[in-house]
Structures are given as structure tokens and as C-alpha cells.
């Protein structure tokens, strides 16, 4: 039941955003990340610090990661993990979560942001 509703929720908003190219979506995601995640997940943030403790420094900055999966991201954001608080749909609406997910899972070439 829970897995099914998770899937449904993650598919619906994407369809609604159909008009956006993946690059536009990721650019919007970068903004939403800065506004809603950056205070904990950029340099000096508590997310970065605790992830360094748990996974090592090379995995501590989410924006540099290449191994984040969409379902993992939404589960962490809505259900929390360790000392990360849960984030509601008011703080981060579904459409913004989709955009952040697109941003964090976009292929990272040498010229990536």
C-alpha cells in the first residue's frame, strides 16, 4: 500500500510538468534545493557534517553525488532519516520535490553545476 502510493505520487506531478525540458526542471530544482535544502546540505551545513560522519567526506555533499535515486530521495525527504527532519508538502510541494530530484539525479559531466 505504502510503496504503491509512493509510486503514484511520484509519477503524477511529472506528467503535470510535461511541458518542461529536463534541463529546465533541473534548473528549477537547483533553486528549490538552494532554498529548502542548502542550509543543511551545502558546505558547513549539518546534513553535510552528519553525512560525512556516516558515509565519509566524499559522499557528504548531495550536489556532488551520482548515486542518488528518486525513490530514495522522496522517502528521505518525507519520512526523514537519522537526524534529518521530515519535510512536509507545505515546505516542499510535490512539484518542487520532483524538480529537486531531477536536479540531484541529473547526469554530472565535467561541466555540471
Amino acid at each position: 500500500m505504502r510503496a504503491a502510493s509512493l509510486l503514484l505520487l511520484s509519477v503524477l506531478p511529472l506528467a503535470a510538468l510535461g511541458a518542461q525540458t529536463p534541463a529546465q526542471l533541473a534548473a528549477r530544482g537547483q533553486q528549490a534545493f538552494a532554498h529548502r535544502c542548502g542550509m543543511c546540505h551545502r558546505e558547513g551545513g549539518t546534513g553535510t557534517f552528519i553525512l560525512a560522519r556516516r558515509l565519509g567526506a566524499d559522499k557528504s555533499l548531495l550536489e556532488k553525488r551520482t548515486d542518488l535515486q528518486p525513490l530514495y530521495l522522496r522517502t528521505v525527504v518525507r519520512w526523514g532519516i537519522g537526524n534529518m527532519p521530515r519535510i512536509s508538502r507545505v515546505e516542499l510541494p510535490e512539484s518542487d520535490l520532483e524538480a529537486v530530484t531531477a536536479y540531484l539525479t541529473a547526469p554530472k559531466g565535467p561541466a555540471a553545476p
Partner: protein
């Protein structure tokens, strides 16, 4: 989180109410899935999360929508708990006192309505965060200062409504006028804002007749939709005397030394002094220091002091304002301190606007025991008197040791009173330890009550206990609060149980968790 219904409301009635809320707000902004409910649980919960589980959340985007929500809530008798950003960690986060309450999440009302540089104030909606206001001041180069709590992730309005504070002082004392909605839906502006064309709303606190702002702070009589808050002008210069005291008993002379300086306004804001432990809890894990299940032993303290180059007590005496005045005041401060100690302290001169801004870094102290964790604070208010402060510290620390928890105490002196914030950290998945935390907390309430000290703010789970300690004339203040509650909120829909104030409809819930 599974649905827990509000007491006395059937599942069918609840569904009808949620459908009515959806007609007002649109389906998207009625948050009532298991996953939604999960996001409003108290992440630092010192007991069971289900004790304070919301039945859902509503997210209006305008004052009119909040009014329409109130109408439905009154019709269906659905209790609502307003939050501004709901980051009240240590006191209940985004959760309600009574399970089954629906959160009224005001995060979408997030406009900075005005910032006035000349007269030093801002008018904010509840959803404006400390980061938002900080960015606004910096981007617009507005030389005003804001008080920022250790957790910078919350709301400027929500924090002030909890009587939050920072070294700049008590944030609720900077409130100057509000726009509020009464539980029955009437819109009111307080103070000078009660004039339809009132020009001095954010400038003069009281208006004509009784002053309502402080009735709303820590109460459950109204929903704040706009708040006027004074901001301090940026200072020309700041001087910090970096205080490190090596012995626990030095708290006594220090309190005696700084109290008159604060009372005369030589020192500004709240004069803070904190124990060695706070240097360690954020950057390190407890296991680096000690493995035992009892309190960290005294033998570890010198190791912490050495590694972080701190004292047993650590604080800052901060002088801010015109640079020549600061220099003159510095001499007064050093002369006064020299009457009590031969120790010399480092003096740091800097610009008046050196605040690093909001941060979430201190949040990681909850990782102290290794896994996911939380903290609550026991914070009684007492006289600013060296002997009493020293005794309070010693009594409190003995209690921590009795229950096997790590002492972490901070004293904030405002010249007349001292607020003693005692931080209690625990692992969230350690039920046995959380039981010790509960026992410690109740013992601390009882000890302080005996001394005549009461808490300034508390976690949801202890609101009834703390309210009960305000017991003059058989709790006549609580009875007054509840008479006002019943008059303003006949259906008891707004934040039942907040700060121990229960409306008639839910009074049987008092003391139940």
C-alpha cells in the same frame, strides 16, 4: 502515521470536514495521507510520537482562507493548531498537544510586508523564515539587526510567539502590534493598528486600553496573520570580552559581577554563560569521550576543556554601539570584573554587524549518542543573584548525575532575572534512557517549584505539569486563562492544551498523553 481522530469526532464526520476544507483550500492543500501526517510528528519526541500526532494539516494562502477554515472547523468541531514554520524542536516541532488535532500550517503566508530602516521595524507574515529575513536585509543592504535563535530554520513570527530568545534578548518583547484572527473568525488589529488608518501600528506598543499582544504570545486565543517586530539599528562597533572560567564555583562571582552592569545598560541583551559541554556536543560524538551509561564523569571535563580551548564556564560580555561609548564601557566592565578575579580576559574588537547569520549547524547535537536523537530543555526563571544561581546550578547538576544524563547548562542574565536553560540530550531509540529523561524532567520541575522558580516555555508533553506549578491561590491564573479561553473560543477549536490552557470541550484531556 495512521489517522488518529480528534476526541469525539467520528470517522465519517472527519471525512466530511476534510472535504469541506478541500472546497476552501483546494485538494492539494489538505494534507491528510499517512505520509503527510508523518511529516508533522515531533521529530525530537521525548516520549511516544503518537502522543502528539496530528490528524492532518491545512495550508491556507490568504487571511480569507484562514477565516474560511475557521468557519468549517467550528461547524465540525475540528481542533486546529497554528504553526508558522513548525521548527519548534525541543518543544514539540510541528506537532500538536492533543492527538487528532489538525495542523494549520501558515507556511504559505510568507510575505515580508515591510521593512522600515528609519524606524527599525518589520511587518511579517508567519511563514517568513530567519533565512528569508536575513537574505532580504542583506540583499537590500538594510542596516538592521535581527535576533537569531541557535536553530535558524524556523519562523521569525513563530519564534517570537513562543517567547524565543537570542543573545540580543527576548524576541517577544520586540513585538509591537499584530493582526490576529479570533477562533470565531473576526479579524482584529492590536495596539495602534486598531485604528483603520493607524499610522503608529508598528511604533507604539499599547494603543488605548488593554494591551493584547502578550495575551496572544504563548496563548491559544488567536491566530497571528501579521506581526510587527522591532529590529535593532546596526551598531557602529562591537567589543567582546571572551570569558572562560576554569572552576564550576566561579559562576557565583560572575553572576554578581555582571548583574549591575546589565541592569544599568552597560551590557546589552542577555548575558550568557554556558558549561563546557556545549563545546563538545555539536562537533563530536559522546563515544569519543565516554562509553558508560551514567553521566560523563568529571575526569573527562579537563579533556574537553583542553581540546576545545574552553573553560568550565564560557561566555561573552558584549558591548555594542558607538565605538567611543563601547571603549568607555569596556573600562567599566573590566574594572568591575577585576573586583572579583585576577584573571585577564581576551578583548576582541570588531565591526558592529559581525553576525554570521542564521545556521542549522547546532542541530547536529542530537547525534550526540550516535543514532537519531532529540533534546528537550528545562528552563526555569529565577532572580539574578550569584548565590542563588550557584545553588541552582549545583542542585540541577546533581539531578542529572542521579539520572545518568550529561549536564549541559546555560544561564541568561537580563539584570533582574536569570533564565537557566538546561539542555537534556537523548537517543530517540533508547526507551530506557528516555524514561530517565522523563524522571529527571519531573524532578527538575519539582525542585524549581520548591524554590519558587517556574519555566518560561516547555515541551508539549510537559505543558500541564509546568502550568500546574503556577499555583498561587489554587491556580487562579489558570482558571482565568480558561475563562477567557471559553469566552473567545466557545467550541474550543484553537490549540487545545497549549501551555496548559484547555477549553471546556477538551478539559478532560488535561494531564493525558
Amino acid at each position: 502515521m495512521k489517522l488518529i481522530l480528534p476526541p469525539g469526532v467520528t470517522a465519517a464526520r472527519f471525512e466530511q470536514a476534510m472535504a469541506a476544507f478541500a472546497r476552501v483550500l483546494g485538494k492539494e492543500w489538505v494534507l491528510a495521507t499517512d505520509e503527510d501526517r508523518e511529516t508533522y510528528l515531533d521529530m525530537y519526541s521525548p516520549g511516544r510520537e503518537e502522543s502528539h500526532a496530528a490528524a492532518g494539516a491545512l495550508a491556507p494562502a490568504s487571511v480569507e482562507q484562514v477565516q474560511a477554515v475557521l468557519k468549517v472547523a467550528n461547524e465540525f468541531h475540528i481542533p486546529l493548531w497554528p504553526i508558522s514554520r513548525g521548527k519548534n524542536f525541543g518543544y514539540g516541532g510541528a506537532a500538536p498537544r492533543l492527538s487528532g488535532t489538525v495542523m494549520l500550517d501558515l507556511g504559505r503566508l510568507n510575505q515580508i510586508i515591510e521593512v522600515n530602516e528609519k524606524q527599525g521595524y518589520c511587518i511579517l507574515e508567519p511563514g517568513v523564515g530567519f533565512f528569508d529575513l536575513w537574505d532580504y536585509l542583506k540583499q537590500n543592504k538594510i542596516p538592521l539587526q535581527m535576533g537569531i535563535p541557535g536553530n535558524g530554520w524556523g519562523s521569525v513570527v513563530g519564534n517570537a510567539l513562543e517567547r524565543g530568545f537570542s543573545p540580543l534578548g527576548d524576541h517577544s518583547s520586540n513585538i509591537c502590534g499584530m493582526e490576529i484572527l479570533l477562533p470565531t473568525g473576526e479579524l482584529v488589529r492590536t495596539g495602534m493598528g486598531a485604528m483603520a488608518n493607524g499610522k503608529a501600528w508598528p511604533l507604539f506598543k499599547h494603543g488605548f486600553g488593554p494591551s493584547w499582544d502578550q495575551m496572544v504570545v504563548q496563548g491559544n486565543y488567536a491566530i497571528v496573520t501579521k506581526l510587527c517586530l522591532w529590529l535593532k539599528q546596526e551598531d557602529e562597533a562591537a567589543i567582546t570580552v571572551d570569558v572562560k572560567l576554569d572552576k564550576p564555583q566561579e559562576l557565583q562571582w560572575y553572576t554578581e559581577a555582571v548583574t549591575p552592569l546589565r541592569l544599568r545598560g552597560v551590557l546589552d541583551g542577555l548575558v550568557r554563560i554556558t558549561s563546557y559541554q556545549s563545546a563538545a556536543t555539536v562537533p563530536t560524538l559522546r563515544s569519543e569521550w565516554y562509553q558508560g551509561k551514567d553521566s560523563i564523569p568529571d575526569s573527562v571535563i579537563p579533556l574537553m576543556m583542553k581540546r576545545f580551548n574552553v573553560g568550565w564556564w564560557n561566555g561573552a560580555l558584549r558591548l555594542a554601539g558607538y565605538s567611543d561609548v563601547c571603549e568607555a564601557n569596556l573600562r567599566r566592565v573590566l574594572d568591575r570584573v577585576a573586583k572579583f578575579t585576577k584573571q585577564e580576559f581576551k578583548v576582541i574588537r570588531g565591526p558592529g554587524n559581525a553576525s554570521p547569520g542564521p545556521s542549522t549547524y547546532p542541530l547536529q547535537m542530537t547525534n550526540w549518542y550516535g543514532g537519531r536523537g532529540g533534546h528537550i530543555g528545562y528552563s526555569p526563571v529565577m532572580p539574578a543573584d550569584g548565590k542563588l544561581v550557584q545553588e541552582q546550578f549545583e542542585r540541577t547538576r546533581r539531578r542529572y548525575q542521579e539520572f545518568g544524563l550529561d549536564y549541559s547548562g546555560t544561564f541568561y542574565n537580563d539584570g533582574r532575572s536569570v533564565t537557566n536553560v538546561n539542555l537534556i540530550l537523548y537517543g530517540k531509540d533508547d526507551a530506557e534512557q528516555k524514561e530517565r529523561v522523563r524522571k529527571l524532567f519531573l524532578a527538575l520541575i519539582a525542585d524549581a517549584r520548591e524554590q519558587g522558580y517556574g519555566e518560561y516555555r516547555t515541551h508539549l508533553s510537559y505543558m500541564d505539569d509546568v502550568a500546574a506549578s503556577y499555583d498561587f491561590n489554587n491556580h487562579s491564573l489558570l482558571r482565568l486563562n480558561e475563562r477567557v479561553k471559553d469566552a473567545l473560543d466557545p467550541n474550543g477549536i484553537l490549540a487545545p492544551g497549549r501551555n496548559g490552557i484547555w477549553p471546556k470541550a477538551y478539559r478532560a484531556q488535561r494531564g493525558k498523553l
